[in-house]
């Protein structure tokens, strides 16, 4: 099927491929001689493997090999001292329940699954703790600094403020749960040549990690990841299970495919760590903030430290001379976390944006007025002007669209039968990043443009965005532009994370297009053609089938001169059922302030996805561990509740759509994270407005409303 049939220029360039099943995801590649790997996992939480009986598995029909710490192939980096503690198959230590301890490879998936059940491990068990709250209370448990303490003005100034509050907020573990299960196909061939089909947010990162573990040259490794069925951060690293698959392929000399189970998605590919946060706020009676203190504890593993930006927002979001933050991580015997959409900033914003609402209430102020009153003109943390910021305008648009004037400042005022209505607002903010990337552009005499970069598209519509940037600059129809990605042999680009791809790779696309245009102009001038001549005519006149340019692009001094952030305002209306505690988000209004909107349709989709994820974070999502056993209880889609269609109301997405004058040639700032950051607080604030009940522990399930 023709790839680029687009009804209009803003359609996803790969939309038809995706909805017709033609988009090929990693697990769909059929290689000659493909074998199937299934991971055996530890059933204890902490200790050591003393024996591993693989005989029955090895004898089972169709089994090719069982690879474990007993017979692993060489992985040079793991043979050295130091490095990561979780050297898969190079350790007999168990760090958490569900840790991969062996991989069984067979000629069918079913046979491998069965044989994996026959592998019997014997362990020496040790005492363990998977309970983050318990570790936090235990004076003997380790607490590690997660970020340097920050102080501006007086420490803990809130304590002496005219109006003050100090509250504690709890966020449980969440699991990314993209629809597509994780895994990899690894094909290790003679002379240390390796091809992998991966589910990754960074083909270059996957290539680099594997090269580093096996100490083989980067160029020996080809990573393909054209389509990714959702990542939300969990595909930002190469996990032990992927290294295990590469080892298995190296061991048997055949391609091996591993697709993990939904249950294993809870233990092998990270999660959003649990967090406990305390916010202290002080204000004078006129509603000016005089002190902000944000202290956070995040969960991490015992074998690797994980930190994120939980306390960042408190430092600059509101005008306040006295701010201090602290962030520590607390190891427990669970798998290591990883960034999950919005990452730490979403965790932090739940606490801060709830507390801001609580302070507005304490002051008897409208929370919107309170935010506007404390909105800073410049970034007090960096002592720099914002590169662009239109949030007052965003507040105004959103308030009008949600019908903020219907809101009563007194909680529990709007009642209709058994249902109480409430309105809430919150802000999301995230660094407007720009990294370094290269793009190759090939302009052809057939009128087409091919762009290439080793970036990824986990769903936001990278190819579409890049195509639209080129379309605007080159005046080439979108159906004549192809953007290739997800291939490690293409010009390098960073991983897709931190809402930076459009800014980073888009800038390189911009530079390539500018260079191609000037090359054409030069050719035109040299061949006595008009400066406005069509590039096809110019190429033909010069007997050139194509011209080619590669550009590397990155930000410059402007990044030192300005504070660059992307903002979003979330307005929600909720209905709370007083008798049963059921909360329904009944309306959502987004106003994004993220510079120029390059790709309107996919930008809107980012916000829609953020709202769905946000409803999940606010109302339904929680990964539950039985701390007596260290095992997850609700590790499936029936019991881990992501929102379903019936949970998602009308979502009204709006953009300020004004270019940021400094960040990049497009004037576009990132969007992926801000769609989620702060959303859960808007819901909690609306629930408070509806009922007078302040829920500081997510998710807001019926039992918490009734408590």
């Amino acid at each position: 099927m023709e790839k680029r049939i687009l009804k209009d220029d803003n359609d996803r360039v790969d939309g038809i491929l995706k909805v017709t099943g033609q988009a090929k995801y990693f697990a769909e590649y059929e290689l000659p001689g493909l074998t199937y790997g299934v991971l055996v996992t530890s059933t204890i939480t902490k200790g050591k493997i003393t024996a591993l009986d693989t005989k029955a598995a090895e004898k089972a029909p169709g089994v090719i090999a069982v690879v474990s710490h007993l017979n692993k192939p060489s992985a040079a980096a793991y043979e050295q001292e130091g490095g990561p503690q979780m050297k898969i198959f190079y350790t007999d230590k168990i760090f958490y329940n569900g840790q991969p301890i062996a991989i069984v490879v067979a000629n069918t998936f079913e046979r491998a699954t069965y044989a994996a059940s026959l592998v019997k491990a014997t362990y020496v068990k040790e005492d363990f703790n998977t309970d983050f709250e318990k570790a936090l209370k235990d004076p003997k448990a380790k607490k590690l600094q997660g970020q340097a303490d920050y102080k501006r003005g007086i420490e803990n100034a809130y304590k002496t403020a005219e109006v003050k509050l100090e509250e504690r907020y709890f966020l449980p573990i969440e699991t990314h749960n993209p629809m597509e299960l994780h895994g990899i196909i690894a094909d290790w061939r003679p002379n240390n040549q390796l091809t992998v089909y991966a589910k990754t947010q960074g083909v270059k990162a996957t290539q680099g990690t594997i090269a580093n573990v096996f100490k083989i040259p980067m160029e020996n490794i080809q990573v393909n990841s054209e389509f990714v069925g959702g990542g939300f951060g969990m595909a930002l690293r190469t996990w032990p299970l992927e290294i295990a698959t590469v080892m298995a392929s190296k061991h048997i000399g055949k391609p091996v495919k591993v697709v993990i189970t939904r249950m294993q998605m809870f233990t092998m590919v990270g999660n959003r760590p649990a967090a406990i946060q305390t916010i202290g706020l002080g204000a004078n009676k006129d509603g000016k903030l005089t002190g902000i203190t944000h202290r956070a504890y995040g969960e991490t593993s015992t074998y690797e430290n994980f930190t994120e930006g939980v306390v960042n927002m408190a430092k600059f979001m509101y005008q306040c001379d006295n701010v201090n933050t602290a962030y520590a991580i607390v190891p427990v015997d669970l798998g290591v976390p990883i960034w999950m959409r919005g990452p730490g900033e979403a965790t932090g914003a739940f606490a801060l944006e709830s507390a801001i609402d609580e302070m507005a209430h304490a002051l008897d102020m409208d929370p919107l007025d309170f935010r506007i009153k404390n909105d800073p003109e410049t970034d007090q943390q960096k002592n720099k002007p914002f590169s662009s910021k239109n949030i007052k305008e965003a507040y105004k648009i959103g308030a009008e669209k949600i019908g903020w004037s219907n809101r009563k400042n007194k909680p529990g005022s709007l009642i209709e039968g058994s249902w109480q209505t409430g309105y809430g607002v919150s802000v999301g903010v995230f660094n407007a990043n720009r990294g370094k990337a290269s793009v190759k552009g090939i302009l052809k005499a057939d009128g087409s443009l091919l762009l290439q970069s080793a970036t990824s598209d986990i769903g936001p519509g990278t190819g579409t965005g890049m195509t639209l940037i080129a379309n605007k600059l080159m005046k080439i129809p979108v159906n004549k532009i192809t953007f290739e990605l997800g291939d490690s042999s293409l010009p390098p680009a960073p991983s897709q994370g931190g809402s930076a791809t459009l800014s980073t790779v888009g800038s390189a696309v911009n530079d390539v297009c500018v260079a191609l245009k000037s090359a054409i102009a030069e050719l035109a001038a040299n061949s006595n053609m008009d400066a406005t001549a069509n590039f096809v005519d110019v190429l033909k006149k010069n007997n050139l089938p194509s011209i080619e340019v590669t550009k590397e692009s990155q930000g410059g001094k402007e990044r030192d001169n300005y504070s660059m952030y992307s903002f979003s305002i979330h307005f929600v209306q909720v209905k709370v059922h007083a008798l049963t505690g059921v909360v329904k988000v009944s309306k959502i209004v987004y106003v994004g302030d993220s510079g120029t909107i390059v790709s309107p349709k996919t930008a809107r989709s980012q916000m829609l996805g953020g709202a769905v994820g946000g409803i999940g974070m606010a109302l339904t999502e929680e990964s539950i561990v039985d701390h007596r056993y260290g095992r997850y209880i609700n590790n499936n889609f029936a019991d881990y509740h992501v929102p379903v269609n019936a949970d998602v109301p009308e979502i009204d997405v709006n953009f300020i759509n004004k270019p940021d004058p400094y960040i990049n040639p497009m004037g576009a700032k990132g969007m992926g994270e801000i769609a989620l950051i702060g959303f859960s607080a808007a819901v909690a604030n609306a629930v408070f407005n509806a009922t007078g009940k302040r829920i500081r522990t997510l998710p807001i399930t019926p039992d918490k409303i009734l408590a």
Binding site: E110, Y114, S418, L579, Y629, V644
Partner: protein, 327 residues
């Protein structure tokens, strides 16, 4: 692989004959629960007898009873004109269960036979007296937010997850069972069991029996009814608490009433004391509240599910309110 034999049959008689031949045989209908249980290693039948082609999909009125074949799909029952007209409570309960895709393949008999959704039951590395008698109850002292508050035993606090069965219990349904020799009838409310000392047994179906059909008496409960399911998300979630309420109203006086609860016990929980209290009384909020309190006698929480002690009576009141206000 764990091999199993797959057989297909087209009559109830031959299905039963195949079943009794083998101790470790199971019927396969929609398979929406059985296949999960097999994948998780909770059960490993050696023989699967596919009964989907047995002609037991009828939905019809015979005399003053509505007959529903054991193999009628949940969707077919929920959407059938006869059910919507005469037993709307059943239709509502079915629509509240699972997802559209599951309802399309899940059958009436399979719905009755589905096993608890307790996480400890499904994880073979965890203790569970229902899965493996004598290993202990993981939920007791563990994660028991979804668990029972009525009729619990020291061995098991799991709940029966069905919505349909709650409505059928309320509607005085009967179930027709057959073995090789003939048929027997049982009140639906007696079909499922409490856990007691034998939590491994969910119901009173004998090993040589097959569920043939339901017979539900036609009633005067099709006007004031409601199935209220309280859950963690708006669809595709098991009930925290659900209530099936239906009554007949004459000049605001309740002349007949049925009340049953789901998500609170090892079987659908009929609220007989509340029914008796409300019979002959005015349909007022105060009476509803008193009836709800009566329903809670002997309720017991286990920590994580303590909120149900409040949620359950509230849900009863709201279900009665909504049944009353139905026009």
């Amino acid at each position: 692989m764990i091999n199993f034999q797959y057989l297909r049959t087209t009559t109830a008689k031959s299905a039963i004959a195949l079943l009794v031949k083998d101790k470790n045989a199971k019927f396969l209908a929609g398979g929406t629960n059985l296949i999960d249980l097999m994948k998780r290693g909770v059960t490993a039948p050696e023989k699967l007898i596919d009964i989907n082609h047995v002609p037991l999909k009828q939905i019809e009125q015979i005399g003053n009873k509505i007959h529903i074949g054991a193999l009628a799909s949940n969707s077919a029952v929920a959407e059938h004109a006869l059910i919507k007209e005469k037993l709307p409570l059943l239709s509502w309960a079915l629509q509240a269960g699972a997802s559209a895709q599951l309802r399309n393949v899940a059958t009436v008999g399979g719905n009755m036979m589905q096993r608890t959704r307790c996480g400890y039951f499904y994880d073979t590395e965890m203790p569970c007296n229902k899965r493996q008698p004598g290993t202990g109850c993981g939920a007791m002292g563990g994660f028991n937010r979804m668990h029972a508050i009525f009729g619990t035993s020291e061995k098991c606090i799991a709940v029966h997850p069905s919505d349909m069965c709650v409505a059928l219990t309320a509607l005085d349904a009967e179930v027709v069972l057959a073995n090789a020799k003939g048929e027997r009838k049982m009140l639906f409310k007696d079909f499922h069991r409490l856990a007691g000392d034998t939590p491994q047994l969910d119901n009173n179906l004998k090993a040589n029996e097959m569920i043939i059909r339901l017979e539900i008496p036609v009633n005067n409960l099709a006007k004031n009814y409601h199935y209220l399911k309280v859950r963690d998300r708006a669809s595709y979630a098991f009930a925290l608490v659900s209530v099936a309420a239906a009554f007949e109203l004459n000049n605001n006086k309740i002349t007949d009433i049925r009340l049953a609860m789901g998500g609170v016990a090892h079987k659908p929980w009929r609220l007989t004391a509340s029914e008796n209290f409300l019979k002959g009384k005015e349909a007022t909020l105060s009476n509803f509240e008193q009836a709800a309190q009566l329903a809670m006698k002997d309720a017991k929480g286990f920590g994580g599910n303590d909120f149900k002690l409040k949620l359950a009576p509230n849900t009863i009141i709201e279900a009665l309110n909504l049944a009353k206000s139905k026009v």
